[in-house]
């Protein structure tokens, strides 16, 4: 606990001092007087000397990216899992295994060819370029598939007798039943999207599309000067907040979902 929390605390303390006092001499352990000043600077002005736009803009970019990826992944994977589990079509098992095999290829492995494709499609420096290549998700498809397999066949049959076609069954029965899984996945995928680093670093050159995680890296990585640690630390604290908020907020929802679900 201490090992995890202490660095975060030090980051917070550092974000409340001015440029010099934290780097000279022993680091203070209590918050200093410049909290509001530092945070308003990083939020609204950015660190112009460090080549970073205001943090609000980067946060917005990160938010768009994380939300699009989370929602997109859930939407696509729940639909493909639905197809794989409930429909008979040629090469169904083969299709499943193809999806499953892609689990073995993380973003980093396929990053160069993906970059090439995105560049050729002129999607560099755009939200589409930031999100679309990351949306396909074998993991989520697999999780939904496993969940769908636990839904009793009789439920499907009861729905058929109740005149619910495939679309109706999906929206009226399967989707509400998957609520808990969707909430859990959303948390995981939002954080996954928020923490993307390498991909935004590669495909954005326009500072309008910088995301927060890569922005911090840029701020800390200056040549011929001291990084402005107090500003960087403010950015770190702010960048860490949304995932925490998502976890806290969604946790209530999916704990509620967990206690309500029953087969």
């Amino acid at each position: 606990m201490l090992i995890i929390v202490f660095p975060v605390y030090i980051a917070f303390v550092a974000s409340t001092y001015d440029a010099t006092s934290f780097t000279s001499g022993p680091a203070p352990l209590l918050p200093g007087p410049h909290l509001v000043e530092n945070y308003s600077q990083i939020l609204f002005e950015g660190a112009s000397t460090l080549g970073a736009p205001p943090l609000t803009m980067m946060m917005w970019n990160s938010l768009v990216m994380a939300l699009t990826i989370a929602i997109g992944k859930i939407a696509i994977s729940i639909i493909s899992a639905y197809a794989i589990v409930y429909f008979q079509f040629p090469f169904r098992v083969f299709a499943f295994w193809i999806i499953f095999v892609t689990l073995m290829l993380p973003v980093e492995v396929r990053i160069m060819p993906t970059f090439e494709v995105v560049a050729n499609l002129h999607m560099l420096n755009s939200y589409a370029g930031l999100t679309i290549p990351l949306i396909a998700s074998a993991t989520a498809t697999f999780l939904f598939r496993q969940f769908f397999l636990t839904v009793p066949d009789e439920l499907v049959e009861a729905a058929r007798v109740d005149r619910a076609g495939p679309v109706k069954f999906f929206f009226d029965i399967l989707l509400p039943l998957s609520r808990t899984n969707i909430a859990a996945l959303f948390v995981i995928l939002f954080i996954f999207g928020w923490n993307q680093y390498l991909w935004p670093l590669l495909i954005t050159t326009d500072s309008k599309f910088y995301t927060v995680v890569m922005g911090i890296k840029r701020m800390a990585d200056v040549s011929d000067a001291q990084p402005q640690w107090h500003i960087v630390m403010s950015a770190v604290i702010l960048a860490g907040l949304p995932p925490v908020l998502v976890v806290i907020f969604m946790q209530r929802l999916f704990v509620k979902g967990l206690t309500e679900t029953e087969k």
Binding site: E154, E157, A158, R160, D162, L177
Partner: protein
């Protein structure tokens, strides 16, 4: 309300498993038919083919005057009650009942009337707004029935609906299903492996074995005149004794004893005698036709006791009065009027 006509019904699964082999049943309007048989006899497959949940690979099923082979379950005008109830867990009881009607596009007022009516009949009005998980097994069972009733279908299909309930509740629900079906007068097909449930519910029984019909008849017909050794051993509890005997001139020899079966069987030498435990009467040793039963153990049932033992190496069970003393060897003879005689080869009834 409709009659159901099942003609030469066949089911062969992919992979060549022949589950249902040419079944013919004609079910009258308002009749309660019970399909009974051991697991794997094809009874559920048959029901699911009537429901449209399983494709028909041969023969026809017609409900009312329509051949429904190629119709969707929803278009067959049937309602099904599943073994595990298959209630939608995220919907309240009211939503569960009205979901199918809503999908049919019925007006709201009609749906409400029907749900209220079903709730009244089944006495589930108090928990219409609860979710299925907050209901007991018996209540869920009622909701599952309710979902069938609100649809006002031509036929009810029950797929072992009571097997998830405890014994006491099962007896109670059995009675309720019977009364309900009589009151509504809806043609019903009910699948079970429990012969007692089958006997008590059915207007007519269809006894299935290995995908073919062994016998169709009223519960009493099936009980009193089982058509084959299979039906004889399946229907009735405790099960009927089936013992091998040699036949000559109207007498059947079992070990050293011989029974006068009072009829000539042409050419048949080896037969199987079927005697229900309650049709074995204690007699004193030396009486004509007395079988010496060497007692192995005794089961007390309260109203009677079951004496297990063997005669000439063949096991035999006799139901006896609890007042009677049991000795090592008890002499019994069969009530000839209730004797069943089967061919050893064909296993069919001979008398």
């Amino acid at each position: 309300m409709a009659m159901i006509e099942i003609t030469d019904l066949e089911k062969t699964y992919q992979g060549g498993i022949h589950a249902v082999k040419g079944i013919n049943v004609s079910i009258a309007d308002g009749e309660f038919i019970v399909l009974v048989g051991p697991s794997g006899c094809g009874k559920s497959t048959m029901l699911r083919m009537v429901a449209g949940l399983e494709t028909i690979t041969g023969g026809t099923v017609s409900i009312g005057d329509r051949v429904v082979n190629d119709l969707d379950p929803a278009e067959r005008d049937i309602a099904m009650v599943f073994q595990n109830y298959a209630l939608y867990p995220h919907m309240s009881v009211r939503q569960n009942l009205s979901y199918g009607l809503k999908n049919q596009g019925l007006p709201k007022a009609v749906i409400e009337t029907r749900v209220a009516e079903a709730a009244r009949i089944l006495e589930i009005g108090d928990y219409l707004d609860r979710k299925p998980r907050n209901l007991s097994g018996g209540q869920r069972q009622r909701v599952a029935m309710g979902r069938a009733i609100v649809r006002e279908p031509a036929a009810f299909l029950f797929d072992e609906p009571l097997s998830n309930l405890d014994a006491k509740l099962r007896v109670q629900m059995r009675g309720e299903i019977k009364q309900l079906q009589k009151r509504l007068g809806t043609t019903s097909i009910y699948v079970t492996h429990d012969q007692l449930e089958a006997m008590t519910l059915a207007d007519r029984l269809v006894v299935l074995n290995g995908g073919v019909i062994e016998q169709i008849g009223t519960p009493l017909e099936v009980y009193r005149k089982p058509a084959s050794t299979f039906v004889a051993s399946f229907i009735g509890s405790p099960a009927m004794n089936l013992i091998a005997a040699e036949h000559a001139d109207g007498m059947a020899r079992v070990g050293d004893a011989s029974l006068n079966i009072r009829q000539q069987l042409n050419g048949t030498k080896r037969i199987t005698l079927g005697i229900r435990p309650e049709d074995l009467l204690p007699v004193s040793a030396g009486t004509a036709g007395a079988l010496p039963l060497t007692v192995a153990y005794v089961e007390e049932l309260g109203a009677q006791r079951l004496v297990h033992g063997h005669v000439g190496g063949q096991s035999l069970v006799a139901a006896m009065d609890v007042e009677r003393d049991i000795t090592d060897v008890v002499h019994v003879t069969a009530n000839m009027a209730a004797l069943h005689i089967f061919d050893v080869e064909t296993q069919q009834r001979l008398n």
